[in-house]
Symmetry: C2
């Protein structure tokens, strides 16, 4: 599909993340306006609340934009999502008759503050990157036993903490926790010294499912409203000591940063690609007919305090082994009820080569190979003042469907107790 | 403290769970009235919404009972909790001047349907029963390596699923899932064959904490509004195959049943007991000054289809190693924000002897020693149609502070796919 041209000039640039083909969903405020839903178009944001109030959106149900998140629209289901997308496309397209009514509802993105685009119901983090699982397993158990026995059969995941999912730009406090040195017989409590990122893409559940009713992969795919960039901040030293036998807990609970914009499944549809062929046959409830991954280029930029920022990793969403729809089907397989606003992290997306790895633990191989920056600055894990930024976009023919940035700066740990 | 006498005659019985000393918090509806907050008193429920509307409660903030859960009151903090408790005690005490105004606001419990008393923000399940951890570890790894190395240092827990926390009386659908037989090289998908309970007590977080700010144990204790009975239904066969390396997921996600009544920390205060002395010194952030466990007698009744019900286990809350305040302090230690309505499961509470074990896996030692019932009925794990009921109460001098029942019947698995 070519670029859809808009009368918003900045949306027609080949460089913008937000052409008319995208229309991602965010929540913004300005110094004059309280927080509300908006859609990005070029360098502007369309105020959806005012558009709805002005009667421009023609939605079958409503009001859908009276609240501070996209959850109500998300709960309304795929037909309403399609109707909104079609209507917004018509309103913003080159030559739109309604331009004079719509133009006053555009706010420059530069004047807006962005908030969490959804109210996160629950947050689940998966582990669907084969290279990542292999890398981590190799460091822990050696290459022969790297993949856990269930890995090729189950899209493994664990429940994370929703209360600390924050929007891009939120400063992140270095976590405290229990750690135990390799040769020590007792743990200590203090700031994490192995603070890391995980480059992930989060799937946002739109329509809910009932308790006691499993979902097919096809049903699950129709329930996914869209995707966000997701940085699953991780304290590796806390994780190593706490995670047996019940999994990661405080090592992941202090913060998860998501991008400001939910890129809809509809906007990504033309970039869909098949997951790799399973290495062993999947059980029928996990078999996927439609392509469930996307050709999304992803990168991690690290900006250490006192040095120039640089890209430390480049990878792609298609490096995953399981799709979000497969993860969601597995999540509901026991009868677990899924809710509007559930956020499913993909798991760290590492590509095949060292420069494609999606965490510092992998990029520096457990801290053994420091990354080099200008001014002689080196990093193994994150130091105070460092800024980490994820970016992602799908490349179309003369345009791109992008996610904006997913960024966070690390603050020093608090003094406690 | 002796029985506080009430003008509600049924509240003065030594047998009732709900004397004036208790005043637990629930949500009820009748065929005439929609769901609302109420307090149990003997065989009656006091309608808190109508009491507030009638101006009887004298609360400093409000309205606190306009919603369908206790969350708003819980968020109001310990001073408001105390004020409410004092006022309700005065209104319901023998000789209360307001009796004529209050009596019309009482509804017979027998005519009420009970709902979830709180809106569960997030659900965390801990593993704080020493005997339970030892039993499970012994079955998995032998008695020498039964306790994980971190167990005596960390109140281990994992995030559970809040969307499937249901109230006592809700029928539970047998979960489906992946399991792998011991000698098989591939998993299968189907109904769990090792469906189990876990006898727990859940702590309900009242006041929230900020992201990035750890909590002392004393602060954490003041944030706990009350306690509920909690049955952490578990599919042992799904759990065994899925739980490495990220912990329990679908094996626990299908359902968690809580009792209908939140017994407040204030009502339990006189039954507080110290946790056992730590076997190794705890890190300072986990050291507890005030007693954090309670002398609560707990039981599990099993009613297999086709046989008579009987008690299969008796234990006590004081068998735990860590208190809910210690768990909450650990939960916030990384900077994890805690929210009004967070529910913290204690972990399975097993006492020292086999008849004190809090799960069927322990009671039948992995299915090796079936339980015997009338009519020659035997059980290792739960079969369809069986009803499991937890009960608990603290015994005072001539009265008891009880939790009511926490009950669930198992329905056959759905056919899927």
């Amino acid at each position: 599909m070519p670029l859809k041209r808009s009368w918003v000039a900045s949306a027609n640039s080949a460089e913008t993340d937000f052409p008319l083909n995208n229309l991602p969903c965010g929540v913004f405020s300005t110094h004059r306006q309280d927080a509300r839903c908006g859609v990005a178009i070029g360098e502007m944001i369309l105020d959806c609340r005012r558009a709805e109030e002005a009667g421009l959106l023609f939605l079958p149900a409503g009001p859908l934009f009276a609240e501070l998140s996209w959850n109500r629209l998300m709960a309304a289901g795929p037909e309403v999502w399609s109707a909104l997308r079609a209507r917004l496309t018509a309103l913003l397209a080159e030559g739109a008759a309604e331009r004079d009514h719509v133009e006053p509802l555009l706010i420059p993105m530069a004047e807006a503050r962005l908030h969490l685009p959804l109210q996160v119901a629950e947050y689940t983090d998966f582990y669907a990157g084969r290279q990542h699982a292999f890398n981590v397993g190799t460091m822990l158990r050696g290459p022969e036993n790297a993949l856990p026995p269930n890995w090729l059969h189950i899209p493994i995941g664990y429940n994370g903490r929703a209360s600390t999912v924050v929007v891009s730009g939120t400063e992140i406090r270095r976590p405290l926790g229990q750690t135990r040195a390799k040769d020590a017989d007792k743990p200590v409590f203090g700031p994490s010294r192995r603070l890391d990122i995980e480059l992930e893409v989060g799937a946002v559940v739109g329509t809910p499912s009932e308790m006691g009713r499993p979902l097919s992969v096809a049903e699950a795919q129709r329930m996914i409203f869209g995707y966000v960039l997701l940085n699953d901040w991780s304290a590796r030293d806390i994780q190593a000591w706490e995670y047996q036998p019940l999994g990661p807990f405080q090592s992941k609970a202090f913060a998860t940063t998501i991008g400001s914009w939910i890129v809809t499944a509809a906007a990504l549809a033309e970039f869909a690609v098949d997951a790799p062929p399973p290495e062993v046959p999947l059980l029928p409830y996990l078999q996927e007919e439609a392509p469930g991954l996307y050709d999304i280029d992803l990168s991690v930029e690290m900006h250490p305090e006192g040095a120039a920022a640089r890209i430390i990793s480049r990878t792609n969403h298609r490096e995953l082994y399981y799709s979000a729809a497969q993860q969601l089907a597995h999540h509901a397989s026991s009868g677990c009820a899924m809710r509007t606003g559930d956020l499913l992290g993909s798991g760290t997306i590492s590509g095949p080569e060292p420069e494609n790895f999606g965490s510092l633990m992998e990029l520096t191989w457990g801290g053994e190979r420091p990354l080099q920056f200008t001014n002689g600055v080196k990093r193994t894990f994150i130091e105070d003042g460092d800024v980490l930024t994820l970016r992602g976009h799908a490349q179309g023919d003369g345009f791109r469907v992008g996610f904006g940035a997913c960024s966070g700066r690390i603050l020093p740990a608090v003094s406690f107790p």
